[in-house]
Symmetry: C2
Subunit: 421 residues, 2 copies
């Protein structure tokens, strides 16, 4: 049978039917071919039932690579990974909307100021997507490119340009996927496209370049620190969240300080960080996508936990206050269903829907009862970081016996032990 | 057959079995008795199948009422509705946890300073619950008590004391349930119980009393404005959210200004508001609880929309950025499933998971395609307010043809048309 790979367009024949679509990566269940149909729906076909597979079209390798753009030999060299989003888009004057660049080197034409700070050793576009369309396979594709750059002795650091909608999920995933980090990994973005007078793209990209050649070996998000065009923050990739739909200073540090403030003439360090070092970076991108994120609300039905536990291996549950859900005193007591789901093997981790602050289930007795069901309370971790971390932890089959321990291990500063109050 | 009411403990006999449990209010489907079992699960029994119903125990009417506590005849009279939560709890020194008051008048012993500002005409405790255990029937119970106070000519205003976890859902519900509002309705709370040195209860309750006799005829949340014990904010009940799990200044106005700042010696008005008036308040608490709140995240499965549309009449969907979900370009395109659910009758309303800012689906083409599926974009409304509003709008059967219009009608300032950016 023909060798096919995820991303290929194929035709599968079984006794009953012929199906044409794109083969999807299906690590979770290798007995099944998962096919994405033109309608957008996925269909699973048992490999045993397959009579014939035809390759219709090889996966288009969108990866566009340009190497070396040296303007001033004395400047350090960095790599840039372009993934789409507003920062690499232009206004389409026909529709009034925004559309993406088609080639990575167009970024130089848009932002020539960059070449006054750094040389570009490698610019690569592994795919172009609005960030709301990304998933863990995109996080892996980005991590794989970043790892190449970090283990290249002639590259000082990496910039990843990215859409804003889910950039904080990606920065969290990279914080876990890249172990023994040795150099700066800087994600940047823009909220308004570069051809608008109010665009934040230029300042963000310049500040990103400055951080990419700094001494900080962390995954960071760099972008506007205020609603003026005056400075950027470098924020910890695992403790950041988009907190405004349209403002230029949309990203805020959650339950911690910024790592640095970046001005036109200086960088002010404000938090602790790991320094640039000589380690070899290890790409550890194992991931299980059998995970979901659910928010508790008044009147939530207990049956949702049956549904979740039939489909997923782990969930992040956003609780109210210090870590509560409806319990005994409520008309719809969720504790029995949560306990049942956990007893049946679902990993249930809790975060806080207040966003700011730490969980403390011990203050009120219903919180203590919830803790007894086996829910793992994730301290002051954001829900977005928790989701990426849960997929990563569950992806490590050898960690099965110590999931709680791993979820509470502080891999990249995602838990702030010194958070006050 | 014996007359039974929601809240009664009953035994139902059918041909097949005998079931004992508490009867639940089941407006949505009057053909079914819904029984809450001891295990916490609910079971539905067709009325046609019932042979016999026995009343085991009448519903305990927890309502404790005390009338008139006049200390200084010259002070205005207000009513207080006590519903539980930390503000009406004390530390239990045996467990180190917190437990609720059992009688409403204990509130006077805890906070005697209150009597220097107001007289209490009526203090009532319709139930005592931690707020994470409340649902729409509790919102109705509170609204019904508030309406009595507002239509009592000798009562200047109302204070509702409430747990913090879901107080912003309740304040949103009251904002819709109480039409033609004529006097102040002030919800207050404490983050730390009154016997702790750092308690915020005293200042919150005193400021709440000041607002309850003010000129502002709005549903408001009153509580600490800073981490010091210096002033309180009065925040619009439909535009407020708990934004910290433990700090005293946990509640923040979302996409608007505060209505007032309350200092020890003055009240500073900062936003527009309705003034005290002579209208008769109308209690309009129709509500459909066939609603759910769901947050989009990278990798979300499209099948969840099939599940939701099989169980609910309406959902609030928290989107990323300006109003996006994974679409055509993603491995898991959600648009076909959302469209199918809407075509099958599910009302899908969108809010913004950035919390701050307004939705604008028109900037990017996937947003425009999402809008075409029939999703109702709720401007800058919070998800919590949107959930309460959706249940209220769907509860009005005569609004079935104009659900979108009603969801976008600005009933209590829940949409800020003047929000900048």
């Amino acid at each position: 049978m023909e060798e096919v790979k995820p991303g290929d367009k194929i035709k599968i024949s079984t006794v009953k039917e012929e199906i044409t679509g794109v083969l999807i990566d299906n690590q979770e269940n290798p007995e099944i071919y998962l096919i994405k149909l033109k309608s957008g729906y996925n269909i699973g076909i048992r490999k045993d039932d397959v009579l014939k597979i035809e390759l219709i079209e090889k996966r288009k390798d969108k990866k566009e690579e340009k190497t070396e753009r040296i303007v001033d030999k004395n400047l350090p060299k960095i790599d840039i990974i372009v993934t789409g989003g507003t920062i690499s888009s232009k206004i389409d004057y026909e529709t009034g909307g925004v559309k993406p660049l088609t080639k990575p080197e167009q970024l130089f034409e848009m932002y020539p100021e960059l070449m006054e700070i750094v040389n570009i050793k490698r610019i690569v576009m592994p795919f172009t997507k609005l960030s709301e369309n990304m998933d863990y396979l995109d996080w892996k594709a980005i991590a794989s490119e970043v790892e190449k750059s970090l283990n290249d002795k002639n590259c000082a650091g990496v910039i990843v340009t990215h859409g804003t909608d889910t950039i904080h999920y990606t920065s969290a995933a990279l914080s876990f996927f890249l172990r023994d980090l040795n150099k700066p990994v800087v994600l940047t973005y823009s909220q308004r496209s570069s051809d608008r007078a109010s665009s934040d793209a230029r300042l963000n990209l310049i500040c990103a370049a400055k951080m990419a050649i700094s001494d900080v070996a962390e995954v960071m998000l760099v972008g506007h620190g205020s609603s003026n065009d005056d400075f950027c923050y470098a924020l910890r990739g695992s403790k950041v969240r988009k907190m405004h739909s349209s403002k230029r200073d949309a990203f805020k540090p959650i339950n911690c300080k910024s790592i640095a403030k970046i001005f036109s003439d200086k960088i002010e360090m404000s938090g602790s960080y790991n320094r640039r070092n000589e380690k070899k970076v290890i790409l550890d991108d194992k991931f299980s996508d059998k995970i979901a994120l659910i928010k508790f609300y008044p009147g939530m039905d207990a049956e949702i936990f049956d549904y979740l536990s039939s489909r997923y291996n782990g969930i992040i549950l956003e609780l109210t206050g210090l870590g509560h859900v409806a319990s005994d005193e409520a008309r719809k007591n969720l504790l029995p269903s949560i306990k049942k789901a956990i007893d049946n093997g679902l990993v249930v981790c809790a975060t806080c829907q207040t966003i700011y602050g730490r969980l403390n289930p011990k203050v009120y007795s219903p919180g203590r009862r919830l803790e007894k069901t086996g829910v793992i309370f994730l301290e002051d971790m954001t829900s977005e970081t928790a989701l990426a971390k849960l997929g990563w932890v569950l992806g490590h089959k050898d960690w099965r016996a110590k999931i709680k321990e791993k979820m509470l291990e502080n891999f990249s500063g995602e838990i702030n032990l010194r958070l006050e109050e």
